[in-house]
């Protein structure tokens, strides 16, 4: 399961939400992926496809009503629990995997200076740490990342949104986690602040402060610019994964093609060319459609798509997609024998 150089390996992860009326919402249903050392794995898809739920499981912060019903998470070959059960030793969180949550701007305590917040974070992992040592450590890290040390003395409201987000990035990597899970870190930022934050994340990777990043976003242009590989999720499952260039510029799966066609980019400028967005939305995950989950929205769907799981097709060695239409239109040698979900 995974080569030696794999930093993070997730195998057949199933994370379901308990429904208030009984039953389960299968937000992540059999997802496998791996992140190599030094790599940024991008995860894209519409809202409601399970991206954030997967991020929570990978960052081992899943808590009720989200339950991990199956699968394994390995970081550098060691098992990491995906559920944040109370009372269990949580030291792996922040040290092995760390989460940079959606809307991290509001994750800082508004009544505390940043340095006091840093102290609290460090103290929860090392009860013996002194205030001075904590501040020095944060100071040193900020200097290394070319960020002004004065932010330590500031209250969150004194910082701009972009700076707050970068401070959160620094704090969530203060314990040198092996993997950083970043869930939509740029969604509340303007373009210049987005670029600065992503530059910081790349810097953390290049200085080997962290080993790898899982970046969840629905902005394909961002993935195109920073992600080594990209995985497309639909309705709790992986539909395509591969090197970012290939996934974006020669998408195989009909869903990836639809996402690409719906993306507004700078180059498509001006009213002359009309771009149609995606209509409809992902299915209700308490009763996902049978067979290929994309079949009700797929322009190429045939009878077989609603009946059985799509086979895995591999357009190139690193690039896989799960689709009946592809399997039937590709030469037979290209279609892999196995059935079931695509591995990332």
């Amino acid at each position: 399961m995974g080569a030696v150089s794999d930093l993070l390996v997730a195998d057949d992860v199933r994370a379901y939400y308990r429904h208030g009326l009984g039953g389960w919402i299968r937000a992540v249903d059999g997802v496998s992926l791996r992140v190599r050392e030094g790599e940024i794995l991008g995860i894209a898809g519409e809202s409601g496809c399970g991206k954030s739920t997967l991020a929570m499981a990978l960052a081992s912060v899943a808590r009720w009503p989200l339950c991990v019903k199956g699968g394994r998470l390995l970081v550098e070959g060691r098992d990491v629990p995906m559920e944040a059960t109370q009372g269990r030793d949580g030291s792996h969180r922040g040290e092995v995997v760390s989460m940079m949550p959606q809307g991290a701007m509001n994750s800082l305590n508004p009544t505390q200076r940043v340095r006091d917040f840093v102290f609290d974070v460090l103290r929860s992992h090392d009860p013996g740490v002194t205030r001075k040592a904590a501040a020095e450590r944060a100071h040193e890290r900020l200097a290394r990342l070319d960020l002004p040390a004065r932010v330590l003395d500031a209250y969150p409201h004194q910082l701009s949104g972009g700076m707050k987000q970068r401070v959160v990035a620094v704090i969530s990597t203060l314990l040198n986690p092996r993997v950083l899970i970043a869930d939509e870190p740029t969604s509340a930022l303007d373009v210049s602040a987005q670029r600065a934050l992503l530059a910081l994340m790349v810097q953390l990777l290049e200085q080997r402060i962290i080993g790898g990043i899982v970046l969840v976003t629905h902005e394909l242009p961002i993935l195109r610019n920073v992600a080594t590989r990209t995985m497309i999720m639909y309705a709790g499952q992986v539909c395509e994964t591969g090197p970012t260039e290939e996934v974006i510029f020669s998408p195989a799966h009909p869903y990836t093609r639809a996402l690409m066609d719906a993306t507004l980019v700078l180059e498509s400028a001006t009213k002359r060319e009309r771009i149609e967005g995606l209509e409809g939305g992902p299915p209700d995950l308490s009763q996902p459609p049978g067979g290929c989950r994309f079949h009700p929205r797929c322009p190429h769907a045939t009878e077989v798509c609603s009946r059985s799981l799509p086979p895995t097709v591999s357009p190139s060695p690193e690039h896989t997609a799960g689709c009946w239409w592809l399997a039937q239109s590709e030469p037979p040698t290209a279609a892999a024998a196995g059935e079931g979900a695509v591995d990332a």
Partner: protein, 275 residues
């Protein structure tokens, strides 16, 4: 106020708003001159804190300016005293805001949201007239009135909710629609739909639209005219083709440079003004 005069529909002159006093004074909007002709789509583009939303609120008369004037259809609306006068103004100028989740009362169906907007009208509408107006408005934004009217906000997707908010605004038949970051909280793959709704309303109903965004790629997609705003001031303005082809101000060039492009060279750690 419905005359199709040759003058601009909206003209702001020296518009300024200062928050706070003395040392702590912040000039959120500083000496802005802006004019929009009937039937055009213009965008205000700038980073967070550049004063875009304050400018929108000044034009909407939700906020009183410190200095300067707002002329709408040849009439000075800078000093509209009393709620009743402002309410009358809002039958001509409507707005859609960023958060399609916060703009709804979660306990009421869509019908209620739309019906309360019709109260802006002075004339009393019959039940049938109200229904016709609501249905027509929902259809003009591409929603099926039959199913949407009785749905609760949580039963709609973000994109659908935002379209309901646009329907609510256009139902009043305004001449100017101010759309303040309407796509920010919408999935990247359905943003085009919201913008297409704006384009269609502009074409079919000759609605004048002021679109506010931090994303210059969205602005270039919908606009005839671009206004670039930085630190409370308009630093560049002009027809979209001209500003896109030959941006004059450094800040405009930076906006273009910072925007992530899908084509062109990969970035990864280099280029841009990542400061």
């Amino acid at each position: 106020m419905t005359t199709d005069g040759p003058g601009p529909l909206l003209r702001c002159t020296g518009l300024t708003r200062v928050f706070g006093q003395g040392q702590h004074a912040v000039r959120a909007v500083h000496d802005v001159d802006l004019s929009m002709r009937r039937g055009e789509i213009a965008s205000i583009v700038g980073e967070s804190g550049s004063g875009k939303s304050t400018l929108a609120r000044l034009i909407l008369r939700l906020l009183a300016p410190t200095a300067g004037s707002v002329m709408f259809d040849g009439r000075d609306v800078t000093r509209l005293r009393g709620f009743a006068r402002r309410r009358a103004y809002w039958t001509h100028v409507q707005a859609v805001f960023q958060d399609p989740f916060g703009s709804f009362n979660q306990f009421y169906p869509v019908r209620h949201v739309l019906r309360s907007a019709l109260r802006l009208e002075e004339a009393h509408l019959s039940r049938r007239e109200r229904e016709t107006r609501m249905t027509a408005a929902l259809e003009s934004v591409g929603l099926d009135a039959g199913s949407v009217l009785d749905q609760l906000p949580h039963e709609l997707s973000g994109g659908q909710r935002q379209r309901v908010m646009i329907a609510r605004a256009v139902m009043v038949k305004p001449e100017l629609l101010i759309a303040d970051e309407p796509t920010t909280m919408i999935d990247a793959s359905s943003r085009a739909n919201i913008l297409n709704v704006l384009l269609d309303l502009n074409r079919d109903h000759t609605l004048t639209i002021l679109f506010i965004t931090h994303d210059i790629s969205l602005a270039t997609y919908v606009s005839d005219t671009l206004f670039i705003m930085q630190g409370g001031q308009l630093v560049e303005s002009g027809p979209v083709e001209q500003v896109t082809r030959a941006p004059e101000h450094d800040y405009t060039r930076r906006l273009f440079a910072d925007t992530f492009s899908l084509h062109g060279g990969s970035w990864r750690g280099a280029g841009g003004s990542a400061a």
